[in-house]
């Protein structure tokens, strides 16, 4: 392992790495991100390896495991190079055929190619798949190309060239200026202008200064940061090192959730490699920059995603936030100026340095520049990670990229921004996605979670769900968050049980307003957002619950009944077998009946009924 002592040595080594691999050489890169791994990608990889060895091809055909490609719905996915053939839903039994196709005239395995659900056409290349076609993957583009545990791969695709550029004559002020001109805003949620935050830190005379990468991605439904950390950890490190140079920080921290073991592992490997190569540590690339990064694991607290709570956690304390001001950029870790930014924000820095602030600012809208990474999940055909320019409409996301709502159901709402965000109704489908538009609509960009909901989702239930989450995760220090969310959740529970009244709606709004206005930190201040947006856009649904004691989406257990349609039931008894409360009676081959008094409305019978004879009203 070379210890690179200068920018020149880095570039020479990069060239050597690039020369070492023939671009025409066949290679199979299999996605081994958490999603595909759970679908069996590891077993596929193992089988491929075995086959290659058995056929003596291990020196002719390369096999690589990469990070998340983003199209998790179709996993396990893989790409056959050099053609760039994209295979999806690959199983162990397909391995032999894939290996064969790599040598026999390179004809792709048709049945493993992506198939357009409407036209039936097969698509060969990744970039032609509709899911990818409308994306602009400036942060995630390399995920499918590199082995996250090999720094050489990162160098091959141009990694650490931004750092080289900065250290060859750029000044810290120039770096901060670039970030400002690019218009980069914090991708963790609030969207604070990054350049401004850096400036505040720079101006402060106190020393030492610290930088922190917030990798405590806790929003349920969000896994962008995880995929970037697993798939391209060096892109984040490069951003941090550039940041250290710009802010004159000597120590950095990456605070990552312990619930992301693969990310922790890959970060550890990347850090060790960067140190070995002289890209981290003392006198980086001979520039005189001294910078060390420490990896800190979270211990299971969503609130630690809040910057002051995160800092407290690094200091060995409970994750209870402090009132701001003073902001961490003035007084943070150990009382010193500290810049905390999200994973995606740090990863954007090398991109801005390499391609220029003006280029970056040309993407997006007037006040929201660059791309945003969303995790598109829920009731959507194409679930996965999507990177798009700011300003794209919700319609394009849901239908153009997401492939619409499955099973012909109606789109009802899109929840953006996690528990701190709000529900945007289907009527606002042409809303451009940027910070301002979302805030005006009552929601929030958040860190990019986008959960699609259809007609079978009850918005009262959704609001209650998020309040339950926040009640669980509230640190409990300040009164309005601790008690206010509890009371709101209680009211929502009554409403979902048919025990609510219209006065309760008024009370709910008052409580929501108060919690938002008076809570100590961002968690409490945004906790009421799901309630406020659902009340604003889905009031009729709430009114149905309180006036008619009816749940239009047929979700709230106390307000629905399960019934067996005797004309459709074939008496197979499958439902009886799964019913834990013994609520279903009937003889074999005769129509069965559900006794409402015993029925728990758990839905187990619905899952197994073949003739679809069970009706929920």
């Amino acid at each position: 392992m070379p210890n690179l002592q200068s920018v020149q040595e880095l570039e020479a080594f990069r060239t050597a790495c690039q020369r070492a691999i023939d671009p025409a050489r066949p290679c199979i890169s299999v996605c081994a991100g958490s999603g595909c791994s759970a679908s069996g990608a590891r077993e596929v990889l193992q089988t491929l390896r075995q086959i290659l060895e058995r056929q003596g091809l291990q020196d002719t055909i390369d096999l690589k495991s990469t990070g998340c490609h983003g199209f998790c719905e179709k996993g396990p996915v893989m790409i056959a190079w050099p053609e760039g053939t994209f295979y999806n839903r690959v199983a162990v039994r397909d391995a032999a055929e894939i290996v064969a196709s790599m040598s026999n005239g390179r004809r792709p395995v048709e049945r493993l190619l992506y198939q357009d659900p409407v036209s039936g056409e097969r698509v060969q290349k990744e970039e032609d798949v509709p899911f990818y076609r409308r994306q602009q993957r400036i942060l995630f583009g390399n995920n499918g190309r590199i082995d996250p545990k090999a720094i050489e791969d990162y160098l091959r695709v141009g990694g650490y060239s931004a750092l080289a550029r900065v250290l060859s004559g750029g000044t810290p002020e120039q770096v901060v200026d670039s970030v400002k001109r690019a218009g980069l805003r914090g991708r963790g949620g609030a969207g604070f202008p990054t350049g401004k935050k850096w400036e505040v830190c720079r101006k402060n005379p106190a020393r030492p200064k610290y930088i922190i990468c917030n990798a405590d991605e806790g929003d349920p439904g969000a896994f962008m940061d995880r995929s970037l950390l697993e798939g391209n950890p060096h892109s984040v490190l490069e951003g941090l090192i550039i940041g250290a140079y710009a802010l004159e920080a000597s120590e950095g921290f990456i605070y990552v959730r312990s619930e992301y073991p693969l990310a922790v592992e890959h970060l550890g490997v990347a850090l060790a490699q960067a140190e070995e190569f002289g890209l981290l540590g003392e006198n980086i690339l001979g520039s005189g920059l001294n910078f060390h990064i420490r990896l800190v694991e979270g211990a299971g607290a969503f609130v630690c995603g809040e910057e002051t709570a995160l800092i407290a956690s690094i200091e060995g304390r409970v994750g209870e936030p402090h009132p701001r001001p003073p902001y961490p950029a003035e007084k943070g870790l150990r009382g010193k100026p500290t810049v905390i930014n999200n994973v995606k924000t740090w990863a954007s820095v090398p991109v801005i340095i390499n391609r220029g602030a003006d280029w970056y600012a040309s993407i997006g809208t007037a006040h929201s520049k660059g791309t945003m990474v969303f995790s598109l999940v829920g009731k959507i055909n194409n679930t996965g990670l999507v990177e798009v320019p700011m300003g794209i409409t919700l319609r394009e996301m849901i239908y153009g990229i997401g492939g619409g709502v499955p099973r012909g159901k109606q789109l009802k709402a899109v929840q953006i921004g996690g528990p701190s965000g709000g529900c945007i109704p289907a009527s606002l489908i042409d809303l451009p996605i940027d910070y301002e538009a979302l805030t005006e609509a009552g929601s929030m960009m958040g860190s990019g979670g986008m959960v699609v909901m259809d007609e079978d989702t009850c918005m009262v239930d959704v609001a209650r769900y998020f309040l339950e989450f926040l009640e669980d995760e509230s640190c409990g220090k300040c009164f309005p968050c601790r008690k206010g969310t509890q009371r709101m959740r209680e009211i929502l529970t009554w409403i979902s049980q048919g025990k609510g009244s219209e006065e309760d709606l008024r009370l709910l709004e008052d409580l929501a307003w108060m919690v938002r206005e008076t809570s100590l930190c961002g968690l409490g201040q945004t906790a009421p957002n799901p309630v406020l947006t659902t009340l604003r856009y889905f009031r009729e649904e709430y009114l149905a619950h309180v006036r008619e004691k009816r749940c239009p989406a047929r979700v709230c257990k106390e307000l629905i009944t399960y019934r067996i349609d005797p004309t459709l039931c074939d008496g197979c008894g499958a439902c009886v077998r799964v019913c834990t409360s013994e609520a279903i009676l009937g003889e074999k081959k005769h129509a069965h009946e559900i006794q409402n008094a015993k029925c728990l409305r758990c839905g187990a019978c619905l899952e197994v009924c073949q003739p679809k004879a069970i009706v929920v009203t």
Binding site: P323, P326, S474, R482, W513
Partner: protein, 243 residues
């Protein structure tokens, strides 16, 4: 020496002064629950929130933790602040109706009714006892544990602390324990808001200070008793049913 404006009054203070201290220096009253001059500011009760900045970018922030800054514009009595205070107090009374401190604050700041069911918790987690024990008594016998709704003040592992010196400072400083409401009917969360220290409304008062919904005691034996009102002996209660 930052210069700031509170309720339109200009004031110059030493760097490090909080907005709460600056306001008190001017004689402006801001309600607090978790604040004590002898303890480090905590910012948990949120009752001292004030409006900082100019609309539409103004925010509510806790005055006890906010360092006074040059050019700051603060309002302690705006409509937004008053609404926030009343709603907070409504939640406080519902959580801990037996605290006279909280009842007095509620009536002082215009709370007329409590729409939430009472919980009768013994602790509002203002943290005064914990900070007192740690900062003033240097014992650290009690503290917070757990998170969210499970969070509470306890001594670790055992109910009886090994380092507790039985000084009683925690009892002394507690805003819930210090003065218990002696109202006759604790189930009615909002009492008649007696602002004096005498036991509440079981006897007839010349000048009823009740300007709220009368509690059951008043209706049974006090000024709001129906037959007394008829015969001219009772004093009509202001704002019966709320003004």
């Amino acid at each position: 020496m930052p210069k700031l404006k509170i309720n339109g009054i200009h004031v110059e203070v030493e760097r490090g002064t909080t907005v709460l201290e600056a306001a008190r220096f001017l004689g402006i009253e801001i309600p607090t629950l978790c604040h004590d001059d002898g303890l480090k500011p905590y910012g948990a009760c949120r009752l001292c929130v004030v409006e900082v900045g100019a609309a539409p970018r103004s925010k509510l922030q806790s005055a006890c933790t906010l360092p006074a800054d040059e050019g700051m514009v603060v309002s302690t009595r705006s409509a937004r602040v008053e609404r926030a205070r009343r709603l907070l107090l409504e939640l406080y009374v519902a959580t801990c109706p037996q605290s006279k401190t909280i009842q007095d604050l509620a009536s002082r700041y215009g709370l007329r009714a409590v729409r939430l069911t009472p919980e009768f918790e013994d602790c509002i987690q203002c943290g005064k006892c914990v900070r007192m024990c740690a900062e003033q008594m240097m014992a650290g016998a009690i503290g917070f544990a757990y998170r969210g709704l499970h969070r509470k003040v306890i001594s670790p592992f055992r109910a009886q602390s090994e380092v507790c010196r039985h000084c009683g400072a925690c009892l002394y400083i507690c805003p819930v324990c210090e003065l218990r409401c002696h109202g006759a009917q604790p189930e009615t969360t909002l009492c008649s808001g007696c602002l004096n220290l005498a036991p509440a409304c079981l006897s007839y008062h010349e000048h009823a200070m009740c300007f709220l919904d009368p509690c059951a005691a008043c209706e049974l034996a006090g000024p709001a008793r129906k037959d007394l009102a008829k015969s001219g002996e009772g004093i009509p209660v202001h704002g019966k049913g709320g003004t």
